[in-house]
Subunit: 260 residues, 2 copies
Amino acid sequence: MNQKGGVGKTTTTVNLAAALALEGRRVLVIDLDPQSHASLHLGVEPQGLQTSIYDLLLDPDGDATAAIHSINENLAVIPSETDLAAAESELATVEDRHRRLGRVLDRVGHAFDLVLIDCPPSLGILTLNALAASDEVLIPMQAHFLALQGVGKLMETVSLVAGGLNPRLRVAGVVLCMHDAAATLSQEVVADIEAYFEQAKEQAVPWSGARVFRPPVRRNIKLAECPSFGKSIFDYAPTASGAADYRALAKAMLAGPVPT
Amino acid sequence: MNQKGGVGKTTTTVNLAAALALEGRRVLVIDLDPQSHASLHLGVEPQGLQTSIYDLLLDPDGDATAAIHSINENLAVIPSETDLAAAESELATVEDRHRRLGRVLDRVGHAFDLVLIDCPPSLGILTLNALAASDEVLIPMQAHFLALQGVGKLMETVSLVAGGLNPRLRVAGVVLCMHDAAATLSQEVVADIEAYFEQAKEQAVPWSGARVFRPPVRRNIKLAECPSFGKSIFDYAPTASGAADYRALAKAMLAGPVPT
Ligand SMILES: Nc1ncnc2c1ncn2[C@@H]1O[C@H](COP(=O)(O)OP(=O)(O)OP(=O)(O)O)[C@@H](O)[C@H]1O
Ligand SMILES: Nc1ncnc2c1ncn2[C@@H]1O[C@H](COP(=O)(O)OP(=O)(O)OP(=O)(O)O)[C@@H](O)[C@H]1O
Ligand SMILES: [Mg+2]
Ligand SMILES: [Mg+2]
């Protein structure tokens, strides 16, 4: 998640999920953004859906199986729709408004090894639902100055959730998106984030074990093209640098923390 | 405005405002995004402000002059702060919640030739305030598939406001950001938008006179660097392509619609 807009949240959720599925994990993507970009990216048309994540949030005990769209043998998605934008106000006064997604996952999560949730660019009720229901937070980020500004606020929100709604919540780390390793600005921003994480190592904070995942995902026009075909990068351009980067990232994540 | 995240809203608001100021117009920037990126970009620190746009929205008749920070002879900004994120819920039940910004501009707008408002990546109360108070809507956009998806929803929202809160509201057009003219994807998306506007020419819709502004703003790392110095592109790197593009864009906008 990341409340900064346009940093690569959707692109990372979809392509990392597809890469983890190629590694043999059974993966569920949940589209928690009313823009429905993750749904579109996986070829699911948001109009005219029988059930979407919106219906499940409003009625967590309803029939969830109809909402799960199978993409391939190891990959499935629960899509969103435009009405999801109304969930923020419709759930505003409900007692368990932050736990609705958790209740849905209690019922459908067991059939999957991993669940990846695509969040909207805000820290509202939808993103809080995702944080309350998750074990780990992944922060897609562009190594730019403006994107760096919001990290403090993001960690503050994670701390609030870890201190109340979901004590097991940890920050796994940052995924660098649209990365230009040669740019001085990028190098400076990456150094800033790594110093921030280094300093947190001994502290009792949810990001004390966080790191910058490698490899960074390079800018690659194929990653911006594949959503228009409703495909992941692996189905659209399997030899592109974008496919190589997300594949390597998936392997690095599955291998666990790098011993220092 | 554009509810799609990371398309260049802040970069365009700040640098276009600075370019219009160089053309001799007196320009006011209003930062309506709780991320405060436009404020940071113009060198105004959001922490510790005496008055910000947040205070003015909650008390439109309060003293507004303390909120106006002068950047140079022709450019000023009313900054935002993190608390602005609470405005959505604090104004939710207020009768004139969508007209608060309009009331502020009624009092301070007369001292300026142009007011540019930077909006957050959402269609909530803050963006609706901007639409209710504006004459024209400018849509910063990246010529990518995902960014194209939200245009319909954006126009729907503009129609709703034009049909009620603000009948004078028109869509001026699209500003292409981070543009890569050589990419086929970009060419296709630009063709889509131009066809959409062409077809609307004879219709009674707020975007019947809209166009794609030229020149597009090319991707230029200097545009991503200048916010970290609290400067517009003109103060940071006046000979960069980013400065040339925003300067040319300002001149094209001031010259008025191109006769077809
Ligand atoms: N590595 C990459 N190379 C090239 N283009 C990319 C890359 N990653 C993402 N993009 C493109 O950049 C744009 C922003 O990415 P994306 O939509 O995934 O960000 P987001 O954080 O999900 O945005 P939002 O805040 O609107 O949800 C999209 O048009 C996407 O296709
Ligand atoms: N023409 C450009 N060339 C290079 N970088 C750019 C350009 N325009 C914007 N950027 C960078 O791309 C990122 C996104 O731009 P910006 O923050 O202006 O978008 P936004 O639409 O305001 O995002 P948000 O939805 O979070 O408000 C920023 O890091 C910015 O510095
Ligand atoms: Mg997204
Ligand atoms: Mg912005």
